[in-house]
């Protein structure tokens, strides 16, 4: 600790006013405050302050994503070995699967952080502001919503696009309209559709290995277009009826983007976010209700196999849970009022399932729905706040 302090103190003069590297002070500041919570004391207002700051908040969200990340790494390996017919059992070859998954997933994580933070630092230096911590979370979210097979350069391009267009042009963290991580995914989805959908991208295959005969790389969402249950895994074997499907998608050993397959891991993340008070329970609950009610309405209609999918199954497959726990709850792009959060969450879930079922070209409707509700959130808030204003105006006329 002393060592770091001395090191920082020895280089600090270079970055301060009049120093050679004065321009790069925000970068230095980011490192310094990363190592040491600064000794600033309250000058005005309350003399005591809550222990929480944005760094603590963001690191808590990152911790909540760790179960998804770890499961995603294992699952990437599992799907790979499944496709080549090795270690077919869930418990078999744990280390091999984990290692293979790490080799696929960790580079994506690293690229995402490096690309995003570079843009953040450049903007901080141009704006002469402190580096904001928001990207700590976005940088982890982006890899988790990518297919394991995504080329690394695409991750970099998408991340830079998301940070630049999704966030910095609006003024940086706290000012953005869209969720940056979803912006990155949407960018790739529309710019390189073949790399973000279909049956080639979800399972990591290598040139040296040959897939098993019955190999299918489709996600459950793609299979649901033809059948409401009885899905098969990458090796073409059935998960075993409705309850088997349910178990597979709840635990998450199904094809999909890296971090979103496991409803269980998402629920662990949700528990952390809700218990610490970082995530909004209103958004999560209302989105769940929205999704369930749309799925239930489709069940009543039942015009095609996708509409007949059990509501619970709809919720736990695809990116619904991940979107609900980590994407929709982003406080900056979500509704800010408590009433608004109920409306916002409900429609994110409702529309998410609707898009997924009505338009098989966008099997992941959740991404579209959340982005759409991001855009709508300020409007919802406007009407909620206006209702409060009208209530107050009414009181004046009664009084006078």
């Amino acid at each position: 600790m002393k060592l770091f302090r001395n090191l920082l103190d020895s280089v600090k003069p270079n970055f301060e006013e009049g120093g050679k590297l004065e321009k790069f002070f925000p970068a230095f500041d980011a490192f310094e405050t990363f190592l040491f919570v600064p000794g600033h004391s309250a000058h005005e207002g309350a003399h005591i302050r809550d222990g929480i700051d944005l760094k603590r908040t963001m690191i808590t969200v990152v911790l909540a994503m760790v179960p998804c990340l770890l499961f995603g790494i294992w699952n990437t390996g599992h799907q790979h070995f499944l496709s080549i017919g090795e270690f077919m059992g869930l418990g078999e070859g744990f280390m091999d699967k984990f290692l293979f998954g790490s080799m696929r997933v960790l580079p994506i994580v690293i690229i995402s952080y490096v690309a995003g933070l570079t843009v953040e630092f450049i903007f901080a230096i141009i704006r002469k502001e402190s580096v904001n911590e928001g990207f700590l979370v976005s940088g982890m979210l982006i890899p988790l919503v990518m297919p394991a097979e995504v080329p690394l350069w695409m991750v970099a391009v998408a991340t830079v696009f998301a940070v630049l267009i999704g966030k910095e042009v609006f003024g940086g963290t706290g000012m953005n309209i869209l969720n940056p991580a979803l912006t990155a995914r949407a960018f790739l989805f529309f710019a390189y559709p073949t790399m973000m959908s279909g049956n080639k991208v979800w399972i990591s295959t290598t040139a040296e290995t040959t897939p098993v005969d019955a190999f299918t790389g489709e996600t459950l969402l793609a299979q649901a277009i033809n059948t409401p249950s009885g899905f098969t895994d990458a090796a073409g074997q059935s998960y075993g009826g409705a309850s088997g499907d349910m178990m597979a998608s709840f635990i998450g050993y199904i094809p999909g983007s890296v971090g979103e397959t496991s409803a269980l891991a998402c629920l662990i993340g949700a528990a952390i976010l809700l218990y610490t008070g970082i995530g909004s329970w209103r958004i999560m609950l209302s989105m769940l209700l929205g999704g369930l009610s749309m799925a239930w309405l489709f069940n009543l209609w039942g015009a095609n196999p996708f509409m007949q999918v059990d509501p619970i199954q709809q919720i736990i497959m695809g990116g619904f849970m991940f979107g609900m726990v980590f994407m929709a709850t982003d406080p900056v792009s979500a509704s800010q009022t408590n009433t608004g959060k109920w409306i916002y969450g409900f429609f994110a879930g409702f529309l998410g399932i609707m898009i997924r079922v009505f338009n098989p070209a966008y099997p992941e409707g959740i991404m579209m729905a959340i982005l759409f509700m991001n855009v709508m959130a300020p409007l919802i808030d406007h009407y909620v706040v206006q209702a409060n204003v009208n209530k107050r105006l009414k009181r004046v006329s009664v009084a006078s």
Binding site: M1, F4, R5, T33, L35, F36, V37, P38, G39, H40, S41, A42, E44, G45, A46, H47, I48, R49, D50, G51, I52, D53, L54, K55, R56, T57, I59, T60, S130, N132, E133, G134, G171, G172, T173, G174, M175, Y275, T276, G277, I278, S280, P331, V332, A334, Q336, T337, N338, K341, V385, N388, V389, K391, R392, L393, R395, V396, A399, S400
Partner: protein
């Protein structure tokens, strides 16, 4: 008709160093001072000069904007010094006290027999008037107004706050006299608000001519602003006056004895005080003698008032006009290595991101560190958790930031005071100084509308 209000939003911050319920006669201070900065928005015009003899109740200065409002000496003695700052701004009027207190004599009378005008005049002349503040704007009340009601909060819910039941103990007659005088100032109701979980003193429960309301719930339930909002909400153009029990006692004494009584019970609190207790002293009294041999070593923060809304003062400063609490906390000017990632058993947080949630009843010794740096608003819903009014706090704060007066009015600026936002400021992840922003907004609206 008594009302029972349940406040659900808010939090009690548990700190070490609550004052033990023991009254100590403070050693008579050897210096007094009145600081115009205690009175927000007042432009002082001096009525005395260095060397003048004053009695307790002799006017020292008046408000240039409202010359009926006079500020009088708490003690008899000699004006020792007029302390001035930049642009000759008056920082303090210092008084060297006599051994024996001599008082200016005012009319001794039962307020019930006096007219509103007579009471008003006596309050203004004696210097008791500034004890009455008003909403909106949280400034000294304007004697030309007629308030629709008057609010007295008989409990203070802020951290380490003094027990107002203990303070008024055994002074029921004086308190009643004060209430009688105040009741004449309004055609509306005088609301006296007690907390359900504290054993309200007889002085409050047996008070006549007031509406006794019961409030339950955590801080900020003791803030008059919150109480007004729930009991008798204000619209644009409404005016409510407020004062605290020690103000009522001083007004009671004024009519009982005909003197301006500046004596006051002050709670010395905080984790760095060796023996936190109640002291009988005066407002304007030097605090040095109370602190001597009674505070720990080290870098300390002296606060006149409570840790959330108090004013930072130096050790050689004086008891503030409105304050009945002195708090001493450790300064937090040391960097903490990887502090944002540490488990944080010793950090109190409104969130559960620190492991201090394992010990909900622990009392904390918090220092003055900001625990982070200022950022743009990211988190939402935090202020709402500790802001028990039907107002959107973040939207109101943002409307102030952009200086949109109409929006501020619509969002309820007339109902709030900076102190109501103190917990929001405490819990703010983005470390935004909300209280000073709200004060700016109030000043702007006041300037533009009056």
């Amino acid at each position: 008709m008594s009302q029972h209000i349940k406040i659900r939003k808010g939090v009690n911050i548990k700190l070490k160093g609550t004052a033990e319920k023991v009254n100590v006669d403070a050693t008579f201070p050897d210096s007094f001072a009145i600081k115009p900065s205690d009175f927000h928005g007042v432009i002082p015009k001096l009525l005395v000069k260095q060397g003048d003899e004053v009695k307790a109740g002799t006017p020292l200065f008046y408000d240039k904007l409202n010359e009926h409002v006079k500020f009088t000496s708490p003690i008899s003695g000699e004006v020792a010094e007029i302390v001035r700052g930049d642009k000759r701004k008056i920082l303090a009027v210092k008084i060297l006290p006599d051994k024996e207190i001599r008082h200016e004599q005012f009319k001794k009378a039962d307020p019930k027999d006096l007219s509103r005008e007579e009471i008003l005049k006596q309050l203004l002349d004696s210097g008791c008037w500034p004890m009455i503040t008003q909403r909106p704007f949280a400034v000294i009340a304007n004697p030309q107004d007629k308030p629709k009601s008057i609010f007295i909060s008989a409990f203070d819910s802020s951290p380490l706050a003094p027990d107002r039941d203990f303070i008024v103990h055994g002074r029921g007659a004086t308190f009643q006299k004060g209430l009688d005088a105040i009741a004449k100032l309004t055609d509306g109701t005088v609301h006296l608000n007690v907390h359900t979980q504290l054993n309200a003193s007889d002085v409050y429960t047996k008070a006549q001519g007031v509406q006794l309301n019961k409030i339950s719930g955590p801080h900020p339930s003791g803030n008059v602003g919150i109480q007004i909002h729930h009991i008798d909400p204000m619209g644009k153009g409404d005016i409510v006056w407020c004062l605290d029990p020690q103000g009522v006692l001083a007004i009671g004494r004024l009519f009982e004895e005909g003197v301006f009584d500046a004596s006051r019970v002050v709670a010395l609190t905080g984790s760095e005080v060796k023996k936190p207790r109640y002291y009988k002293t005066f407002f304007g009294a030097a605090i040095e003698k109370m602190l001597a041999d009674n505070v720990n070593e080290g870098d300390l923060r002296y606060i006149s008032g409570n840790p959330l809304t108090g004013t930072r003062i130096s050790r050689d400063s004086y008891v503030g006009f409105y304050d009945e609490q002195l708090t001493v906390l450790p300064e937090g000017n040391q960097p903490q290595f990887l502090g944002w990632i540490a488990p944080g058993f010793d950090k109190f947080s409104l969130s559960r991101t620190f492991f201090s949630w394992l010990t909900p009843n622990k009392k904390y010794s918090l220092n003055t560190n900001m625990n982070g740096e200022e950022r743009a608003y990211v988190m939402t819903g935090q202020y709402e958790k500790v802001f028990p009014m039907d107002i959107y706090p973040v939207h109101l704060v943002k409307s102030i930031m952009i200086g949109d007066i109409e929006l501020m009015e619509n969002l309820g600026i007339y109902e709030v005071a900076p102190e109501d936002f103190a917990l929001c400021e405490y819990g703010c992840t983005s470390k935004i100084n909300v209280q000073s922003i709200v004060r700016e907004g109030l000043d702007l609206v006041k300037k533009e509308t009056t």
